[in-house]
């Protein structure tokens, strides 16, 4: 078992003929992900890494039964790609694209939710169920199947943690990168709920960062609703206020969104909080054997 993606995923790649789209399609196919279709308007008839390309998502879904979509199209066109995917009946949309204006995501988020679909991202590395489906841009080989559910707002920092877990023999059920933008489709709370319900997940790692209050919300959710052990790490403990740390969402503003506030909330919720990523495996072992 796992969450969100697995061997039954039938993946569609939007923007498949672009530089990012075509490269990562190759990587995903190579990993063994069931990539069934790609979409690039005007690209019908082509193939990318053996994957057939269609003009529209509707056509791709009709022809291939795609049920999940990953979006690599440029920021200006990405919201339209989200609408197109959901309108064609795709239930899970992963948006890798970085740099989408926040005001475009406000109606898009509400619309996707209203339609009962799920969006992951934007500005995220995607997600992976090791050995079954890599739906994103993460290096597949650092992952291994196992009992740890991982959820993170970050990219390479996640790889760092995953790598350290795999090296000590703690494989992952699913690792989800929820993205670093101010508005993201799926929050920590959403993913924590899925991991809690997933029999294959025995313990959870959440990797947060400064900005917003999603980690505080997650802490409350963990306290009330999560029975499995959770270990957390918050990046940006040394970040100053008012400065955006790379991610559009990673900014301490109005005194809210500090690492200290998030670490305190998590600690209060019984989460083992690591000071550096290297502390995560040991805390996890301790929590799991407790």
């Amino acid at each position: 078992m796992s969450i969100l993606v697995d061997a039954n995923t039938r993946l569609l790649v939007q923007g498949i003929t672009g530089r990012e789209g075509s490269f990562h399609t190759g990587q995903m196919v190579e990993y063994g992900t069931p990539v069934v279709a790609g979409v690039t308007p005007g690209g019908a008839g082509k193939t990318v890494a053996g994957v057939p390309v269609f003009d529209t998502v509707a056509e791709a879904v009709l022809t291939t039964g795609a049920n999940t979509s990953i979006i690599y199209v440029p920021a200006r066109f990405a919201p339209d790609a989200i609408y197109e995917a959901v309108d064609a009946g795709i239930a899970l949309v992963i948006c890798i694209t970085e740099g989408i204006p926040v005001n475009d995501m406000v109606p898009a988020f509400a619309w996707v939710r209203q339609r009962g679909a799920r969006l992951i991202g934007p500005n995220c590395p995607g997600l992976i169920t090791p050995g079954q489906a890599k739906v994103g841009i993460m290096p597949g080989f650092i992952h291994a199947p196992g009992p740890i559910g991982l959820v993170s707002r970050s990219g390479t920092l996640t790889y760092e943690v995953v790598d350290s877990l795999t090296k000590v023999g703690l494989g992952q059920s699913t690792a989800v990168g929820i993205g670093g933008d101010p508005i993201i489709g799926t929050s920590f709370v959403d993913v924590l709920g899925l991991f809690e319900a997933d029999p294959a997940t025995e313990a959870i790692v959440m990797i947060g960062e400064i900005g917003g209050t999603d980690e505080e919300d997650a802490a409350a959710f963990i306290r009330d609703r999560v029975t499995k052990p959770v270990v957390g790490f918050i990046a940006g403990q040394s970040a100053p206020a008012g400065k955006r740390m790379g991610h559009a969402g990673a900014i301490i503003s109005g005194g809210a969104g500090t690492a200290a506030s998030k670490m305190d909330a998590l600690t209060a919720a019984g989460v083992g909080v690591a000071r550096t990523p290297s502390e995560v495996p040991a805390l996890l072992r301790a929590a799991m054997s407790a």
Partner: protein
């Protein structure tokens, strides 16, 4: 992207919000002239991208052109939270009867746009939010339909405004929301929004910030950029696709990925050092990017040692190592460098770096400890 008060006021005036129109000048003579033109009492206001102007002495009243000149003289050149004042706005003095706060901002937890108002205007709204949250009226706009008229009116009633002031307030709230959305702002704020003694509404101080990701569709916003207010190094970095934020410490950091970059800074701090910067070199970590990163980091005279932390993912560690050595061939770096390389082909990469005489380690903590040692005590 931030703009000056007078620019924010210009934007809001285009949306039909009554603002206190003034004259921007850069020297005391200009201020004198402006005061003469406006007549009567004027206010001289520092134009810097920074809060706390009042407390810092950046806002003064002047009752004559001569006073205006000397006030401007006192304000120009002031350093307000690191921003040196090079322009002042001269505005007519106003008869203030009541002060309100009105702001539009993204409400992240709700993923909607939030309109806030308070009868406690003219003060720090974050302080009100913290100490007397019940004094702030909050309304979420519908994600697709926007702020409805009844919502704006409801805020006015909740502020306790008399009936004949309700529509005026609601109209300004609707316009401020419209400006926020249409201009892709991340903040649109009037503080204070006042009622004058004559019962007229006036936006006395306006503030706007804009979404960097949406500037491509707003030529007018980009044109308001004040290069003097931007950190030249950060700007330079952005053009090269590098996220860079200058800090106060002595250890330069070059990292791939924003989250990892923050975690690296945290590790430096944890092990007793002080990061000199946040730097996300981006995905590829090519020789060009790394060379640029070296330039950015070494331009800071405080930097005494450099930590490169790369997690090789799709990009292989040996390729990154080659990029680093190539970059060092192009840029002269005198500070000691510690490289931490992990992930794909990291071992080969570290071997290559060692050959080139660089300290290459396997873990982040190890790297942080070594670089702190290399930088020496503060």
């Amino acid at each position: 992207m931030n703009v000056h008060e007078y620019q924010a006021a210009e934007v809001l005036a285009r949306y039909g919000i009554p603002t206190n129109e003034g004259i921007v000048v850069t020297d005391p003579e200009g201020a004198m002239e402006a005061a003469r033109t406006l007549g009567g009492t004027v206010a001289i206001k520092a134009q810097v991208h920074s809060g706390g102007r009042g407390k810092a002495g950046g806002i003064k009243l002047a009752h004559s052109p001569e006073e205006a000149s000397s006030a401007a003289g006192a304000i120009l050149g002031l350093d307000i939270q690191g921003h040196v004042v090079s322009k002042v706005l001269v505005v007519p003095g106003v008869d203030i009867a009541r002060e309100f706060y009105l702001g539009v901002i993204l409400d992240r937890p709700n993923r909607r746009i939030l309109v806030m108002a308070s009868a406690e205007g003219g003060v720090d709204i974050e302080e009100v939010a913290r100490d007397r949250p019940e004094r702030i009226i909050r309304v979420l706009a519908d994600p697709a339909l926007g702020l409805q008229a009844y919502q704006a009116r409801g805020m006015a009633f909740d502020l306790g405004l008399p009936s004949d002031k309700v529509n005026g307030f609601a109209s300004i709230a609707a316009k401020l929301y419209r400006a926020y959305v249409d201009e892709d702002a991340t903040l649109a704020e009037i503080n204070p929004l006042i009622l004058t003694g004559a019962g007229e509404w006036l936006a006395l101080d306006s503030k706007m910030s804009f979404d960097d990701n949406a500037l491509w569709r707003h030529d007018g916003i980009e044109a308001m950029r004040d290069p003097a207010e931007e950190d030249a190094t950060e700007l330079d970095a952005r053009r090269a696709g590098i996220s860079f934020v200058k800090l106060d410490g002595s250890i330069g950091c070059i990292v791939n990925g924003a989250g990892l970059a923050m975690a690296t800074m945290d590790a430096v701090k944890l092990h007793g050092g002080d990061p000199a910067n946040f730097l996300d070199v981006g995905g590829g970590a090519s020789a060009d990017q790394v060379a640029k990163a070296f330039e950015l980091v070494t331009s800071d005279p405080n930097v005494r040692a450099i930590l490169i932390n790369i997690f090789g993912g799709i990009t292989r560690g040996d390729i990154v190592a080659q990029g680093i050595t190539e970059a060092l061939g192009r840029v002269t770096v005198t500070a000691p460098i510690v490289v931490r390389l992990a992930g794909t082909n990291a071992e080969e990469g570290r071997a290559k770096l060692a050959e080139a005489g660089l300290t290459a380690v396997e873990t982040m903590d190890e790297a942080a400890i070594q670089v702190v040692a290399a930088a020496g005590p503060n």
